[in-house]
Symmetry: C2
Subunit: 591 residues, 2 copies
Amino acid sequence: MNRHPDFLLNEVNEPQDIKGMSLDELKQLASEMRQLVLERDSAIGGHVGPNLGAMELTIAYHYVFNSPHDKVIWDVSHQSYPHKMLTGRKLGFLDPDHYEDISGFTSPEESNHDFFEIGHTSTSIALAVGMAQARGLLKTGSKDNIVAVIGDGSLSGGLAFEGLNNAAKLNSNLIIVVNDNQMSIDENQGGLYQGLKELRDSDGQAANNIFKFMGLDYRYVKDGNDLRAMIEAFKAVKDIDHPIVLHVNTLKGKGYEPAVEAKMTYHWRAPFDLKTGRDKQAANGESYSAAILAELDKQIAAGEPVVAMNAAIPGVFDLKEFQKKHPDRYFDTGIAEQECISSAVAMAVAGARPVVFQNSTFLQRAYDQLIHDMALNDAPVVMIVRGGAIATESATHQGSFDISMISDLPNIEYLAPTNVEELISMLRWAIKQTDQPVVIRQPEKPLLHGRATQDDYSNIQYDIAHQGSEVAIMAVGDFWKLGEDVRAELKAKLNIDATLINPKSVTGIDPEVLHHLAENHDVVVTLEDGNLSGGFGETIDRYYGPKSMKVLNFGAPREFADNVPLDVLYEWYHLTPKQIVDDVEKVLHAL
Amino acid sequence: MNRHPDFLLNEVNEPQDIKGMSLDELKQLASEMRQLVLERDSAIGGHVGPNLGAMELTIAYHYVFNSPHDKVIWDVSHQSYPHKMLTGRKLGFLDPDHYEDISGFTSPEESNHDFFEIGHTSTSIALAVGMAQARGLLKTGSKDNIVAVIGDGSLSGGLAFEGLNNAAKLNSNLIIVVNDNQMSIDENQGGLYQGLKELRDSDGQAANNIFKFMGLDYRYVKDGNDLRAMIEAFKAVKDIDHPIVLHVNTLKGKGYEPAVEAKMTYHWRAPFDLKTGRDKQAANGESYSAAILAELDKQIAAGEPVVAMNAAIPGVFDLKEFQKKHPDRYFDTGIAEQECISSAVAMAVAGARPVVFQNSTFLQRAYDQLIHDMALNDAPVVMIVRGGAIATESATHQGSFDISMISDLPNIEYLAPTNVEELISMLRWAIKQTDQPVVIRQPEKPLLHGRATQDDYSNIQYDIAHQGSEVAIMAVGDFWKLGEDVRAELKAKLNIDATLINPKSVTGIDPEVLHHLAENHDVVVTLEDGNLSGGFGETIDRYYGPKSMKVLNFGAPREFADNVPLDVLYEWYHLTPKQIVDDVEKVLHAL
């Protein structure tokens, strides 16, 4: 039910509807929409600060421009909630029953005011350049404005720079709004931000101006949260016949003091109590991240030249505590994933022991650095990867590509621990050895205890946790418990005493174990929490290809899944113990 | 045999040996070394212009600094020939018998004056930052200088910008030499080059300075081919206690007029006649590239909004001719592979029909754009990929990762034509359809004629070119001829009339053909010109995993190969018809 039938926003069905409003009414809209951002985010989680800060910018945009004839591309698009409220999707914010109907990012499926599905940073200028080039070619005759809105944090990503460089070649309309809130996800990193500060401090007048250096026109807005000023600024650049940067100074979290005070906490928040500010779901005591950081402390105490590196996401790995304890050993490259991997490679080659913390989905942005820098130079970088899993998440951030991305490359060992003791054992070895890059897949499911069955992983020995017959289950990493459940179900339904194996690695295989399995097994089942194409299962398929062993692979098909509940996904992908055993039974029957 | 026993260079065994030389002697060295670059490149091919232009810079570097205590990182490292001549590897240039001993890029295996294997652009600053960070941590007490040498062309790659941004955070020695020769591989692209020109035109005095904007110190050298000036400049920055950019103006191709006149031709050249300037090996008449461009001309004539896009490598695809004919439909993003894909995605979404031309090895630099931009948005980009093959090349440019990189992603159709008619048929369909991204793997082996067996590839139908029994050979793309040879060998040696199949696609499978093969075949052989991990063969393995069909995959293992002759590689990888048939025979015997 609409919680706010009295809101002025109810009268807005499309952007057209705000064009007749007075400044006071627009300000009221801003106030209502801020409240809606907070209500929805506190209920289901979401981006807080980026949306609060971009409120006036968004209202002014739709007041001045004619969407979707004029086209706006929101970088990352985590700040697009106000845009959604004004473009026919207000119910997704007014009515808690419809909160989940609306994604957290722009989506052409939701609205013709959105042009791309976007969730990663730094792409908006490149996309806008492409749209402007197409406009030039297709000669629609229309003079539609093309607008990219990019945050100062996103500017540190190399693609943003590539975009600026190519934007300057255009001889037609392109408006690049640099939404400068002096923050990235965490603090901004790098020299760029000194230059931007000088521009702000000089009210945009400083002679040294990176945008002008690159041949772009430039205009500055001192207070991007002043609705009148934003409207005037947009009016001034509308229909401009060349590319221009509109540098807008805004306040991240504007209008909600806790979000202004704690900008990193409120960049994105899980459901929280609006009054107390506390998380609704308390964090668990034990975590894989904490165990990793405790081990790094130990290694540092023992004299190892360990450093922790990340690209703008310290919060994902609880690295702020590490930073406090070891400020000279903490490196955050900002949103610059390529830089993070390449500089880690150099640190490793120079004798330090870099431990890189990265999300699977963002690691995609440094694929060539994995190949050309890390693997080719066989640099002993240690890396912890999170989010390598089949998960309920936005398709923009789907992390299930990691096994194919990493394990198909030469020289890299990609380890998948099944419990915290094994994880730490692997980490300890990874830091100690200097022969090769080692990546460790941090489990995402509730923490399990167990034990490590080797302490040197240079030769992977599969652990046969239970020796049975007929069917052998190879359960990778996070799917260890699924492996145990499948074993139980095979016993219950078919009275099969299946073998259960922990392969530990998704790169190296253990040919001896695989060879001997043939003696008293007919079927091998692989379970991996990731994509099947290019995954671990196919490595096993290839080994058994010329042999008589039957192999069944379970994982995700080659597709995107957008915010699908995990139980639904598992059902779709045949990942419940019952479905798996049914599939095994069919193969056994056909023998 | 040493062709120049009289050269002064013969006295240089390590950089130390030039420190006592007079300016005249150093100039003589430069002259000799230019001659050696030309002699070697004309004999075996190699980078010409980059090495000629960086001659004085390199001699001055080794005259002033103490390598390898001081460390220089050459961006791309295609300009490292002079460096190699001065660091113990002169025989690789003086003696034709030893030309092939020395690779075209820096190599730690060759010399302790090289720190990384490098062949892609824009990485040097990130690597230098990592080395400087490690120096700070490891506190060796030594004040070694760390120097990155990066060309102006490489600066357009986003990673270079990420590097500059992070370099500014250092509080210690780092010298970034921007070797500005006003060229990329082809012409420079983008606004950045206007800014650099203003810096050159003002003798480095312009108030607008991107390097200073980012908080970096800056110094300009007007003539980087003036040995004395370069020595003075290096002396002035040696042991500096903070990061500085040394902006050096040089002439690409300096000292060899043809290379100065035709900078693109002489960026890299295949073996050529030094007197006439002509290629030693004449180009073949027919080429896949020419056929593709002819088809684009047709499509444009027919009114299709086709555009051709590339990232700084028009020469690889003969695109300069296209550019002349269709200047408004030609887009070169410069060295900016991410920008190239993202802007192509936007053009496709906006209704144009972008055809992207990319090398497999450079496409790695836009992996996230393939996933997050192209695949997720299901944008009907058409892409031609070259270099997807097992090849004799530098490991830095190994192109054999493409099938895993592309075919494991959702929504993308990756087609592998076996002959020119099929290639054009696929291209025609790819441009016509607007449902999904389509990538076409351009064959690298001598051109074959044949025919297309379908004209709509939205449902892939494997072509059974020959229906036999017992063994079915699935030969992908460029390995078509190998498939025919294996068929002949199976007949000759085992009297088996094998089935020969063209699968056309490395993504979609044809389940009907695969299902019916089981009726009268025991073994399926897959042949792919690329890596096995994550490749096409494993897709077939997975299909047959639960079935009784035996599958044997042939392709490359998970490793790098550096400049290995193709016949040797094929022998190593069991890719000769005889080896393949031997392997098949073993499986047949075990049945």
